[in-house]
Symmetry: C2
Subunit: 411 residues, 2 copies
């Protein structure tokens, strides 16, 4: 873990309320790290529904495969997360470890192994010894209590420089429900690969299919619109649990239910907040970069162009150097493979138009742009002038510290 | 320009022979750099055919557009290349500059402006003053002589740390023909964007359509199989000129002519040599990395997986750190979006198998792999076990020096 907190970390941390029907505990299982918590157990009341979205990697981790198989029932009674070992690319032993972990947790939680969901983050390719959970699991279950979300966020960190939490309330019918979220991720991390994990907890009463639909919708413009280094983990996991324990919470069967209007907005806020925190904790990051592409032929096209800009090492190093290098933005637009017309292209840094209709904007004030580039938050906009497609992604700059974190640990 | 030559630079530089029908000269036009040559004029005998492949960027430079329009005739009498200014994203003034440059060169060369081809490399977005060529062009034409290829390669450098030249002979029928090539490119370079430019000169007599077919074939596994940072230039240009002036050279009309067998092989060797030199001069590079992917469902699939590995910042930083981090290779395979089966995957570093059938190879010798990783040339192989698709790409590692070159120049 890094010793210094990212300069871009949120200035305040919210008090995380309890979520009715959710109890949490953390422990030191000694998976890899010493003197820190590395296991989280979350227990859910009977009737809790679950939904999840996972990495699109063709080489997913064993816990991702476990969850994909067991989420089909739509029910969960416990979540076990460990840091220090991703249980990814571990072959048959990976499946043995997930099975053993679920069996140990099921015994402690008093449920079936198929009602346990799992996530692991840390080193890849190292066999995970599932029996390490046995000595701590009974105690975790006994100690589990509401409102331990900050401790939970800490236990799942790898090279994150700060725990990531977010919370929101929403009205559903006459009931007030809580939505709490935790996340970890800072890119892909030394000594090996880390992962993006996030868990959302609510006491709303929402069916599993509806929850899945909400999560899928919610992730598109939040977690899926963030990139640190363009490298997709084998373990990316976002799961959401709905206990239905909020007082008077109406049972919602369909995602299209109009009573979910406020809930959807609140969920989106929690997801967006956590996703932004991941970008703010990007490895070595000194700048948070918001990229808006508009005037594309479609939203999907705008997304691909925005991602091409966000993942360009030349754009990212220019921003690290506080250089409004719009030539590199042109390059990244040009290589995206999406419809673009050089002579209709305009580019803004921090609200100042620096390029217009295929050439440098003759009127732009270099000093004003330089001042914008010194800020910790950079706003970059590209207008293509072709259609109405618009999208937004978040990223961070690329600094020597990223290289140090990911390349220097053997030197 | 960098002051120190890349550690990966070729140990020897070939003597570049003259190519009958080609005369070269260089000059200082003061485009951007002081005290160095920055303009190259190549004059070709009447009857010279030309072919070219260019950037796929949707925002190409003005010279790329000029060449695309004028290559249709298949004929060229002169090539003008300048470094210091890419004449890219310069709007209408870019087109004015190419027209003026061609007019100045045509007057000096005694030909039509449409017989002039152009290339520019350097800063993007800065208007290029075409009139700067006027004072030097007549003298360039008067001084042009055979055999100045090394000086030509020097004049087109930007942040390249060494000039890139290659040469080969081939028999066509009873004639011996020469193929000379020069190239520049080291990624994308401070203070702005640079480009990959390469020019091939031969005294063979080959029709323009045949030349185009040869070039298109030749580039697929050479220049198109090299990546430094995944950022595609707005100006990438590879042109080939055939003067037909070799003694006894038979006139070849079709690329499929069996007499071209040795020529094709020699051309491929020149292109591969230059492409490898570009990877060896990758910005900040300390390791040349050869990536072979085999067992893919097709060659195209193998290429995409190899490129996903080659462009992964995590793989590149691991190699910079001399770490055989095959977990990151798994990640890069998994994110490529191509068919892959984790449990059939094997990975080698420097010929040593480190992962097999979806898990760490239990038999691998860590010390032997560490010794491989300390070498300046790293060989990385991935076997997917799915089919017969195989491909190879070259790249380099990602070091702090890359960040310094591209991000630090304002500090």
């Amino acid at each position: 873990m890094s010793t210094s907190v990212s300069l871009l970390a949120p200035k305040t941390v919210p008090d995380m309320p309890a979520v009715a029907g959710v109890r949490l505990a953390t422990a030191q299982a000694g998976i890899r790290y010493a003197n820190r918590t590395d296991v989280l157990l979350a227990l859910f009341d009977a009737g809790t529904t679950v939904a999840g979205v996972f990495t699109k990697s063709k080489c997913p981790s064993a816990p991702v495969e476990w969850c994909r198989a067991n989420l089909k029932s739509g029910k969960a009674r416990a979540l076990v997360v460990n840091s220090g070992n991703a249980n990814a690319f571990t072959g048959k032993s990976g499946r043995v470890a997930t099975k053993l972990t679920a069996a140990i947790a099921a015994k402690a939680a008093g449920c079936k192994p198929s009602e346990i969901v799992l996530a692991s983050t840390g080193v890849i390719g190292e066999p995970l010894d599932g029996s390490k959970f046995a000595p701590v699991m009974q105690s975790l279950a006994a100690r589990a209590q509401p409102g331990e979300f900050f401790a939970a966020a800490k236990a799942i960190m790898t090279t994150d420089t700060f725990p990531k939490v977010a919370t929101a309330y929403a009205r559903i019918g006459e009931a007030t429900v809580t939505i709490n979220g935790i996340a970890k991720g800072a890119g892909m991390i030394a000594p090996d690969m880390a992962t993006m994990l996030s868990f959302i907890f609510t006491d709303a009463a929402i069916s599993a299919p509806a929850l899945q639909a909400l999560l899928k919708d919610g992730v598109a413009d939040t977690f899926n619109a963030v990139t640190v280094d363009g490298d997709t983990s084998t373990s990316d996991t976002l799961m959401m649990f709905a206990t239905g324990q909020a007082a008077g919470a109406p049972k919602i069967a369909r995602a299209a239910d109009p009573r979910l209007k406020a809930f959807k907005k609140a969920l989106l806020a929690v997801l967006a907040n956590l996703a932004e925190q991941v970008a703010r904790d990007g490895e070595g990051a000194r700048k948070l970069v918001e990229i808006v592409v508009e005037g594309a032929v479609s939203k999907a096209s705008a997304r691909r162009i925005a991602m091409s800009i966000a993942n360009s090492p030349l754009v990212k190093t220019a921003i690290a150097g506080e250089d409004a290098n719009w030539g590199r933005v042109v390059m990244a637009v040009g290589k995206a493979g999406e419809p673009a017309d050089r002579d209709k292209l305009s580019i803004w840094f921090g609200g100042i138009r620096v390029a217009h209709k295929g050439a440098r904007d003759p009127g732009y004030d270099e000093a004003a742009v330089s001042a914008e580039m010194k800020k910790p938050e950079i706003f970059l906009k590209v207008a293509l002038g072709l259609g109405k497609g618009r999208d937004r992604v978040l990223t961070c700059d690329l600094t020597k510290e990223y290289i140090a974190i990911n390349g220097d640990y053997r030197s």
